[in-house]
């Protein structure tokens, strides 16, 4: 049994009118605008899923795409557990089908970075949202941005028909205590890596999430910003 603690927050930032990011934790869909992180804790041997999705602003209905993705992934949790890449592929096809059937949703697309916690911890990722592994003094990016050198995305869920999606999947073997950071590009594109390294490793998940979003705001928050600080313990490692 594992104990999972997630501090989640998402915000439209200081420039954008709306928030096309979506965050879901344990099936709970975070509101579009939050001023403080929410701390959720679960001790379970069942699989749990944390997803950060960033609807693409240049496409129509980005906020619909990101919400559709996180909801669909949670709804299909058993499929995600069985084969995360295939589950992402189904969401991609469903988004394409939705875009083809309704003109207002044409080409809608989203990034998605999901952290699945079972006996092992699995990351599944498409786009330029990111997942980091964090410990004091050491932060390493676990996902690879699906971008061209100019910054254009090379892979998204949804988008124009005919494009294949090949999610990045990697497993992290279990350990006594692990800290992950999931975030949209509203954080990592504007906040210095050294700041991320320092703030993400704060002892409290809640404090880390709040500090990171504040750093994004201090950097002007030109984009929507979403942060999930996920801490996983083997049961018994920590008592609240």
């Amino acid at each position: 049994m594992k104990r999972v603690e997630v501090a989640a927050i998402t915000s439209r930032g200081l420039v954008r009118a709306g928030n096309e990011d979506r965050v879901s934790v344990f099936g709970w869909l975070a509101p579009r605008e939050m001023t403080e992180p929410v701390l959720l804790t679960r001790a379970t041997s069942e699989p749990v899923l944390v997803v950060v999705a960033d609807g693409l602003g240049g496409h129509q209905a980005g906020e619909v795409a990101s919400e559709f993705a996180v909801t669909a992934l949670h709804t299909a949790l058993p499929d995600v557990v069985a084969d995360p890449a295939q589950a992402f592929g189904r969401v991609h096809e469903d988004l394409l089908a939705l875009g083809a059937s309704q003109p207002e949703f044409e080409s809608m697309a989203t990034t998605a970075t999901a952290l699945l916690i079972t006996d092992v911890i699995t990351l599944c990722h498409v786009g330029d949202s990111r997942a980091y592994y964090v410990e004091p003094g050491f932060v390493t990016q676990l996902t690879t941005d699906h971008t061209e050198p100019g910054g254009a995305l090379t892979q998204v869920l949804g988008g124009r028909p005919g494009r294949e999606v090949v999610p990045q999947v990697r497993e992290v073997d279990s350990a006594d205590c692990l800290r992950f950071l999931l975030c949209s590009d509203g954080l990592h594109s504007y906040v210095d890596a050294a700041v991320v390294r320092e703030e993400a490793a704060l002892e409290s998940s809640f404090g880390a999430a709040r500090a990171l979003v504040r750093a994004a705001f201090e950097a002007g928050a030109p984009d929507n910003v979403s942060v999930c600080v996920v801490t996983v313990w083997l049961e018994g490692e920590r008592d609240d």
Binding site: Y133, F138, V172
Partner: protein, 868 residues
């Protein structure tokens, strides 16, 4: 008869106008050496085989080498040629020789003037005769640099060698991999030919060439590690020769002429930057860089060398991992900077403490950032460095993994210690070896070390030996722990756990070696410890997983078993205990007498069951008379068994002995020391009368009664022998004396038994006396063995274990040998004969009832003395 060709201690092949036998300081012996003929008294002067004298007249020895001796000879036609006579059993590739014996190959292959073989006392000897050549390239280089180097000369030699390699690979269709300077020879007209065919192979994409390679290490390319013997191989050697043509010395040679160690050569060859500072000419540097390109696929071959010879400048590929020009530097500890991750890996493996200091500081983050910047992150998962600050084992495992990713050619090291298969075995012998093994087993170090290249035959890019060990070890340790816990002896203690890990590691790497250590000695195996006995009864095989786990458990628990082995309880007198023993003796005696009767009746079954009433009576009477004869010996035996065996096992031993004596009684001498008391005799006789009326009923009743009494006797004896503190002296003189008494007594008893069995022997009239006579003759030898036992220290019991059966064998074959008479202690003969004479015709009984028990007492005394 022709003497076999001797082998020199320092091999080198030299052929030329100025022959030399001694190895030159700069020459490099080849790695492989063939079978050796027995050396003659003076190995410096080989003798030309008689079998070849009708073909060739030997003129001089040109040299000796790894394959044989080369002679300058004259043919009957008056031509001078070179004849190479191989070492006995050193095979010659006759198919290759036949292939090379073509005139169209003559340009770069020496002319063959014949080849063949003959039989010597040491095996077949092959010989091959070739044209006489001028000098080796090695000699040529030395002479040229002594006389004055010229660029034209170097260029000419290089062109000649390159053309020769190309010729061999294309025209001859063979790949000469052992083309060090010693194996190039010059004709008088300046042409070079390859003269050593031992390193010539056919072309295959990748060929296993065994655990050793027939090529000089300093001239072999890095792909030797994974034994890929392709076309690029000899071009690397040409690069090394080109370096020598420019500088006059080898690349791996110190200024004082000494060669660097193999380990250093390997590292420089595979990883190090190419140091060409001694090569002044820029074009030659380019040539050498191209030829010494680590990756065989990018290495220069004939096309590039031909272009270079024509004045071109072919591109030089980036050098291995490091070649990335423009790669940004990363700063390790003490300001050391690296641009090549392989160099950084070697630095960390070489300096584990520095690596720990660096990685627990900001090194991890710096490394992560640098790897991502240089797009190397896919070759090493930085999560291997996760948690490095909380556990140095994890950190060093990460360092090992980093080395496997970027420098797999070097020896894997964990915390600075080698963790390849040989290195691990060596580490186990160190004082903290088992502790280290525990970390290796628990930290999946083996699985990571398996990612390094090794030299095992059949291993590819990963070491299959370590991979197999990594897969097997956790299961083996787990199974052994389960067996240990299930034995009921208690959980593993910390020292035992370390020993378990260490021995498990040795068991998967060197099963035979580990099995010798783990198998309990016979004495420990027989230790009367309840939880130990079921485990000790097993003789597991190392060829099955369960067998290895069982063996491991036995090896770990044997020390506990030895410590818990019951000791004699001394110093406490218990009246109840004495009474129980007396009772056990009496009851056991009855049981034995009953067993003897039953055995005698059953052994006369025809009489008892088919002979009618008279037969039954006769059988019953035979049984009764056996009882009377055996009554006293069995009583003595009962006393001895109860006192010596001390456990319930005495009852079973008594029943079996009594039955055996009953059956064998007609063949045994009478026990004349004393006769049964009348009371007993009358009882036995009357019982015989009773049973004569119904022998079957008698058998049933006697058997049932015997079993009931046996059960009673068993209940009065302990299940295990009582423990106590040994009061036996561990003085070596005492041990020697006890050993001598034991061996001499056993010898006498065994000789007597031998004489009883072989009744045709002339000496059976007085077996005791004859045994004493032999005893006096062999007493000195027995005393020497006894002294050896006493001086064996910790191996005393082992030596004794060997000595006892050896004495039995000696007793079985011992004869008076006149030639050894000087060793006989004649002055002891009379006393020994007198002592034996005490037994008279009852020597058999004395052997059984006195000498064998005396041997047991002494052997047990030695064991206690050793324990003490």
């Amino acid at each position: 008869m022709t003497e076999p060709v001797p082998r020199p201690s320092t091999p080198t092949v030299q052929q030329g106008s100025n022959p030399t036998v001694a190895q030159h300081g700069k020459s490099v012996p080849t790695v492989q050496q063939g079978p050796v003929a027995a050396p003659r008294e003076n190995p410096e002067t080989p003798e030309f085989p008689d079998q070849l004298r009708d073909r060739f007249e030997p003129l001089a020895v040109l040299g000796t080498g790894t394959e044989g001796v080369v002679w300058r000879c004259r043919t009957p036609q008056g031509d001078e040629i070179a004849v190479k006579v191989h070492w006995a059993n050193h095979k010659a590739d006759t198919a290759l020789l036949a292939h090379l014996d073509r005139s169209e190959f003559r340009r770069h292959v020496p002319q063959l003037c014949g080849h063949g073989s003959f039989i010597s006392p040491y095996g077949p000897i092959h010989w091959v005769a070739i044209e006489l050549l001028e000098a080796t390239l090695d000699q040529e280089i030395r002479e040229r640099f002594a006389a004055g180097w010229s660029a034209g000369w170097a260029l000419g030699v290089l062109r000649e060698l390159a053309q020769a390699l190309h010729f061999w690979q294309t025209e001859v269709g063979r790949n000469p991999i052992d083309v060090k300077p010693d194996n190039w020879m010059r004709r008088a007209n300046g042409q070079y030919v390859v003269v050593d065919f031992g390193g010539v192979v056919g072309f295959t994409a990748s060929q296993q060439i065994g655990s050793t390679t027939m090529a000089a290490r300093a001239y072999t390319p890095p792909e030797q590690y994974w034994q890929e013997k392709g076309g690029p191989w000899p071009w690397w050697t040409l690069g090394e020769i080109a370096y020598q043509l420019c500088t006059g010395h080898m690349r791996f040679q110190r200024p004082n002429g000494e060669m660097l160690s193999d380990e250093v050569i390997n590292r420089i060859r595979a990883l190090g930057e190419l140091d060409l500072t001694d090569v002044a000419d820029e074009r030659w540097r380019s040539l050498i860089s191209g030829l010494l390109t680590t990756d065989p696929a990018d290495r220069w071959g004939w096309v590039q060398v031909e272009d270079w010879l024509a004045g071109g400048n072919p591109p030089v590929a980036a050098r291995g991992h490091a070649a990335a020009p423009g790669r940004s530097p990363i700063t390790f500890v003490d300001g050391r900077m690296f641009t090549d991750p392989a160099d950084l890996a070697v630095a960390m493996l070489d300096n584990p403490h520095a690596a720990e200091r660096w990685l627990t500081g900001d090194g991890r983050q710096v490394l992560d950032t640098w790897l991502k910047k240089e797009e190397l992150q896919n070759r090493f998962d930085v999560l291997r460095l996760r948690g490095a600050t909380t556990g140095s084992a994890r950190l060093h495992s990460g360092v090992l993994a980093f080395g496997a990713a970027f420098a797999p050619e070097v020896t894997p090291r964990y915390r600075g210690r080698p963790v390849d298969s040989d290195g691990l075995v060596a580490v186990l012998a160190e004082p903290d070896g088992f502790e280290f093994a525990g970390e290796v087993v628990l930290g999946d170090v083996l699985g990571t070390a398996g990612g390094y290249r090794c030299r095992h035959h059949g291993c590819g890019e990963r070491c299959a030996v370590l991979d197999r060990a990594a897969a097997e070890l956790p299961v083996l340790v787990q199974d052994a722990e389960r067996i240990i816990t299930g034995s009921g002896s208690g959980a593993l203690q910390s020292g035992e756990r370390e020993r378990l890990h260490g021995m498990a590691l040795l068991l998967v790497l060197r099963p035979d070696e580990a099995a010798r250590v783990l198998r309990p000695s016979p004495w420990v195996r027989l230790a009367n410890v309840p939880w130990w006995r079921p485990l000790a009864k097993q003789f597991p095989s190392t060829s099955t997983a369960h067998g290895r786990a069982t063996l491991l458990a036995q090896g770990i628990l044997q020390e506990r078993a030895a410590l818990q082995r019951p000791r004699r309880e001394t110093g406490r007198f218990s009246a109840r205990g004495v009474l129980r023993k007396i009772g056990a003796v009496v009851v056991l005696w009855y049981v034995m007498i009953a067993a003897a009767w039953v055995a005698v009746v059953l052994s006369n079954g025809d009489l008892a069951f088919n002979g009618g009433p008279d037969g039954e009576r006769q059988a019953a009477t035979l049984g009764a008379s056996a009882q009377m004869v055996l009554a006293l010996p069995l009583m003595v035996l009962a006393v001895e068994l109860v006192l010596l065996v001390r456990t319930r096992g005495a009852v079973a031993a008594g029943v079996v002995s009594a039955a055996a004596l009953g059956v064998a009684l007609p063949h045994l001498p009478l026990f004349t020391a004393a006769s049964s008391p009348d009371l007993i005799a009358s009882q036995v006789t009357s019982l015989a009368e009773v049973w004569a009326e119904g022998i079957v009923v008698g058998l049933v009743l006697m058997t049932a009664g015997g079993l009931a009494l046996a059960s009673l006797a068993r209940s009065w004896l302990p299940e295990t022998a009582p423990r106590g503190v040994s009061r036996w002296s561990s003085n070596r003189a005492v041990i020697a004396l006890m050993a001598l008494v034991a061996l001499a007594s056993l010898f006498w008893a065994a000789v007597v038994l031998r004489l009883m069995i072989y009744s045709a022997d002339v000496s059976t009239a007085d077996p005791g006396g004859y045994a004493a006579f032999l005893q006096s003759g062999y007493l000195l030898a027995l005393a020497a063995v006894a002294a050896a036992i006493a001086l064996s220290g910790r191996n005393t019991i082992g030596t004794l274990t060997v000595a006892v059966p050896a004495v039995l064998v000696l007793a079985a074959i011992a004869k008076p040998l006149p030639e050894l008479r000087f060793l006989w202690l004649l002055f002891l003969r009379e006393p020994l004969l007198s002592f034996a004479g005490l037994w008279g015709q009852a020597a058999f009984w004395a052997a059984l009832l006195v000498h064998v028990p005396l041997t047991v007492v002494c052997v047990r005394g030695i064991r206690r003395a050793v324990d003490a």
